[in-house]
Amino acid sequence: MSEANTNDQEHALLNGLADNDTGAIETIYRDNYPAIRGFIIKNNGYPDDARDIFQEAMIVLFEKAKSDSFVLSCRLQTYLYSVCRRLWLKKLQQQNRFNPSIELNHEIVPVEDELELHEQKEADFKLMENALQKVGEPCKSLLEAFYIEKKSMPEIAESFRYTNAENAKTQKYKCLVRLKKIFFAQYKNTD
């Protein structure tokens, strides 16, 4: 396959990933996971570690693919490998497991800056998840139904047994204000 073809193909895969398209995700998984799984298991990991690390790398790639300024300056495979390698080394370090003999025959690209950014985003993600937990029910489900599942107000009114869409909307507003309060309180604390 020519270089240009590979590039086009990888570009299409990344666009698919950005749209959360299962087909694209499956192709990337199929093409890359076995090698990375092998790498992690060889370096003192369990199959579950391999899955966690690979899925986190997929999230890094997903965020990269979604950003407007995105350009992949190397092969997809190299990028994923580099990210996984970095993530795994870090995890081993955190757990004080013995330092593995990371194989050196694979091409890698620097990904440190991007992972730092990812960590920041991951922290924000946790803040939001935390805030949603804290806001409690029925607020959590109500907000998720509207903002995440993108259900319409009449639908929500029916499934949450509000008398009408207007009532559901008022309730949603109250919940939203509470969620924002919790979220920003935590957010400011971590700054």
């Binding site: 959360n20 299962t22 995700i25 499956e26 998984y29 199929r30 996971y33 076995p34 799984r37 092998g38 298991i41 060889k42 003192n44 369990y46 199959p47 579950d48 570690d49 899955r51 966690d52 899925q55 997929m58 999230i59 997903f62 979604k66 757990q95 497991r97 013995f98 985003k121 924000d124 993600f125 939001m128 998840e129 937990q133 903002y147 995440i148 008022t170 507003y173 939203l176 204000v177 924002k180 979220f183 920003f184």
Partner: protein
Amino acid sequence: MEENLLLDAIERYRNGEMNDQEKTFFEELRKSNPDIDAVVAEHSFFLSELERMSDIKSLKHNLDQVESKLISEGAINTSHEKTKSKMIYLWNRYRRTIAVAAAIAGVVSLSTATIISKYSESKKVEVITPLVDNKLNQFEHKLNQIEHKLNDATAPTATVKPKFEANFRATGFLVDGKGYLITNAHVVDKAKNLIVENVKGDQYYAKAIYTNDTTDLAILKIIDTSFKKVTGLPYTFPKASAELAEPIFTIGFPREEVVYGEGYLSAKSGYYGDTTSYQISISVNPGNSGGPVINKDGEVIGIISSKETNADGVVFAIKSTNIYDALREVKKSDDINIKLPTVNSLKGTNRVKQIKKLEDFVYKVKGN
């Protein structure tokens, strides 16, 4: 402008639901009023965070789906399993050393965990306690004897099993109605004789056809001819990992009678970062070992194995995904095909009904 109207306007603006006139008005308002502009900026940021969380959640969901699909297709290469188990073995050995060292040095505030079983009395410093009840005390023995005598007296012709003096008790549960149960390896490791007993009191001889000390899983087969194949196992076994904070429950035999307990998933790894198990918070006692850990949808996510001795509610459960590996090995070496249940009849019913449905499939494991 009322805040709820403003937030609503911001959302419609972001979603492109405003007409031109509204849009111009809204943009003017932002320009002329810095307070409003700040609210818009803050709310937009908040919404983008919320959207990102939702995107990542659905991505994670898709990733899990793809992973399960590839595993079931066999597309994920498992030829490393051999090296893997060796690594796990080495790692466990190493981990035990550091755990012991840490405990002695008092570096770790966690006290050592003990396996709750008769084997915990072994001289070796154990870091974890399996949850097998070896204190079947005199009182219970007497009770058992009386019960047996009563059984003998009232139903002399019934299929009362020849019983022996059991010196430990744990829990197990059916994974295949043909008479295959899962329990812990440490439960059956040193047992000469094994019987399993259901909540109705029917007892059957069983033998271990598989044990794995690394994962601490064992598969038992009921070898009694009086055992009749049962159907309708109500629980299933998920392929994906369980979620943090997920509510869970278990039933088992810390007493002669079946006991229910509930809790939540506290960590996705077990003792010392062991990724083959979960840490759960639940009240369990000797005898609970080998019991199923079930989520609200009736999926068995783990198997109770041990708890930390001096910390309350720190319990470890083997991830049920390890069962898949065990079944594969049994199939490979002994050509025994154990089929896990695929229909879940617990989902969506209340807890009392769930327990009623599943208690028939959870067994007491006894032996000596």
